[in-house]
Amino acid sequence: MSLKRKDLLSLTTLSADEITLILETADSFKEVTGRDIKKVPALRGKTVVNLFFEPSTRTRTSFELAAKRLSADVINFSPSASSVVKGETLLDTARNIEAMQADIIVLRHSSAGAAETLAHGVKSSVINAGDGWHEHPTQALLDLYTIRQRGMNFQGLRVAIVGDVSHSRVARSNIYALVKLGAEVRLVGPPTMMPCGVEKLGAKVYYNMDEGLRDVNVVMMLRLQLERQGRALFPTIREYSRLYGLTADRVRIADTGVIVMHPGPINRGVEIAPEVADSLSSVILDQVANGVAVRMGILYLMSGAN
């Protein structure tokens, strides 16, 4: 089996079977990451370029480790703002990289659609590592992997995504994938953070967190962008935290076996109480660990190496 597509840009276009294939492929690499020598030769001779226009430590490092454990050559390329000032477009930058025979370009960009634009312009495979508010498909895939690892079945699974859905690419990718796999997706947050028409994507919106968390199996907290306080999306961090922060009391409203997720980095004491982040229901560090295996699976399937 392989992914019969050049790029991984969005989870809207991925079928449930393709998602399952990625998760199953990640399983076999999960085993590799547990070995003493965490390396396989699957991508030897292939070149992976991490093209990150936005600062990111977690995602970039995760992709870098994944590629290295597959024995690919990895280049990290973080164009400074200055090259944009010089008039080089994203496509120019990418074509330069392509000219150096990059097989896979992993792109992080602040503009929605950047990965799609790039994919149309280059022959290399493009993996979207986050484009604006649009999508972050590999994050959602590692979230799915983590849920599945806990023995949960997606069909009928109740998942609450809490926070600023409007400005969240993680939320969008998770909504698309979870709805596709048959889960019940609840979006919890103030109306100012719910994008127009989001119910039509198959999710249900709750403004009251206690109602939204009732009997859920998974709580996905989104990071609150603290700098948005001045944008009239919420009055104060204090009030936001009181209304939409995940406390130990609120965890008890959910199903007894609930797991708590967060794409990181977390704001302790803002959207998530420290005792929840550090509790047994928290799988936040599992997400990080699984990220490497899932990205190994994706790189492997995209490289056509199998």
Binding site: G87, E116, G132, R172, C196
Partner: protein, 428 residues
């Protein structure tokens, strides 16, 4: 030199519709009627089966000069205009420097004279630097040749400043043109706000950003009595409010652009930067409302908002790419599309390109009356062609209509009695 246009179907809405000859002499329309005889030493153009109309008047173009000559110049913009049948174009003041003073206005008029193609009429800024704070020298702008005032693209947000501008403009009988957009509501947006913007993860511009400013401007026009012209309205709400305002006698005129009656926000999918304009492409329901507004006369004028941008600017990612598309060379066939669709009669369509815009700004244009300036177009209504941006006269190629198979083509354009554009017309 004189020109006789023989045997065409003359469309001069409200005056004459039918087969007639048109005689042009000394820069003016000398006669319109049957069986006119060919002038001695003049030129005769056969127009059998063609439409003969007053040259089109576009109240809304951006010719980018001074300041952004790499996008367009008054020369290249004028060439695009006459190729599209537009003999008179009104240039928005968002140049660099802004056209907020006599020197810039005179420069533009001088460039237009050198180009010798279309009548290029500047629109002056409402406020100094279009910063929305202090009034520009509107009297001086009028005296130097500006035909209206607008801070297009940078709408006056301060309602008191807008009120004063409207009051002040009364002294010169100038239309005040507003690009209706509440900049706070629209902040950061780059497409219509709705399900598609949610799916694409793009910041949206709600219809309300336009509607609240339309409402404000109508109130201020009612308060001051000033002539208000609403640029490129795009929402069902705008149409509804303008209809109501007109019924109550508020002196308002409104324009719509071909892209707002031909395209919807669906076109943005795939992050197509040629679908990025301001106001943004809206929903199907908005498009229907615009068409209804055009049909029932709520929307008086079809204008292009011709907004050239260089290829590399439109090649940026969607959020970074500038707003706007070129329109002068595609407006005619797209407007004729409304006739084909049964939305407008041919006469209505022509009126919205000729006499209605002239009336909105009080221009002595847009008619084939004897004695009027000899600005004339001859159009083959049935000629089919494919839009090929590489053939544009404009310097820029930013159009979402590339590859469209359209119907209706300009054969001859005459400005001030001179043929300034022609393609394959028979001469006996």
């Amino acid at each position: 030199m004189s020109i006789l246009i023989k045997g065409g179907r003359v469309l001069d809405p409200g005056r004459l519709v039918g087969t007639a000859d048109v005689l042009v002499d000394n820069g003016k329309i000398a006669a319109v009627g049957p069986n006119l005889s060919a002038p001695v030493g003049g030129r005769t153009l056969q127009a059998n089966g063609k439409l003969v109309m007053a040259g089109f008047v576009d109240l809304h173009v951006h010719f980018r000069e001074p300041g952004f000559e790499y996008k367009e110049t008054i020369q290249s913009g004028s060439a695009a205009a006459v190729a599209g049948g537009f003999t008179t174009v009104c240039c928005m003041p968002n140049t660099n420097p802004v056209n907020d003073n006599q020197a810039v206005t005179e420069f533009m008029l001088e460039r237009s004279r050198l180009a010798g193609l279309a009548n290029v009429l500047p629109i002056g800024a409402i406020t100094k630097g279009s910063e929305g704070k202090e009034l520009a020298e509107i009297g001086d702008l009028r005296r130097s040749g500006c035909v209206a005032i607008s801070d297009d693209g940078k709408p006056v947000m301060n309602s008191l400043v807008m009120r004063r501008a409207m009051e002040y403009a009364l002294a010169f009988d100038l239309a005040v043109v507003d690009h209706c957009e509440d900049l706070h509501l629209a902040e950061g947006g780059c497409m219509n706000e709705g399900l598609i913007s949610t799916e694409l993860g793009l910041p949206g511009i709600p219809a309300a950003a336009e509607d609240v400013m339309v409402a404000r401007n109508l109130s201020l026009s009612e308060l001051t009595g000033a002539r208000l012209h609403l640029a490129h309205i795009s929402t069902a709400g705008s149409v509804r409010m303008v209809r109501e305002a007109k019924a109550r006698g508020i002196p308002v005129t409104a324009e719509a652009c071909p892209h707002h009656f031909m395209l919807t926000e669906e076109l943005v999918r795939g992050y197509n930067t040629h679908a990025k304009m301001n106001p943004p492409l809206r929903t199907w329901a908005d498009v229907q409302a615009i068409k209804e507004g055009l049909r029932d006369g709520t929307i008086d004028v079809i204008a292009t908002d011709h907004a050239p941008h260089a290829t590399q600017e439109k090649q940026q990612d969607f959020t970074e790419a500038p707003f706007g598309i070129v329109g002068l060379e595609t407006a005619l066939p797209l407007t004729l599309g409304l006739v084909e669709e049964g939305v407008l009669s041919l006469e209505q369509a022509v009126q919205k390109l000729t006499s209605a815009p002239a009336t909105a700004f009080g221009l002595n244009k847009g008619t084939l009356a004897v004695g009027a300036d000899a600005d004339v177009v001859i159009v083959d209504q049935h000629e089919q062609w494919e839009v090929d941006p590489t053939k544009f006269r404009s310097k820029s190629r930013n159009t979402p209509f590339a590859g469209w198979k359209v119907k209706g083509r300009v054969n001859v354009t005459i400005v001030g009695g001179r043929v300034v554009f022609e393609t394959g017309v028979a001469e006996p």
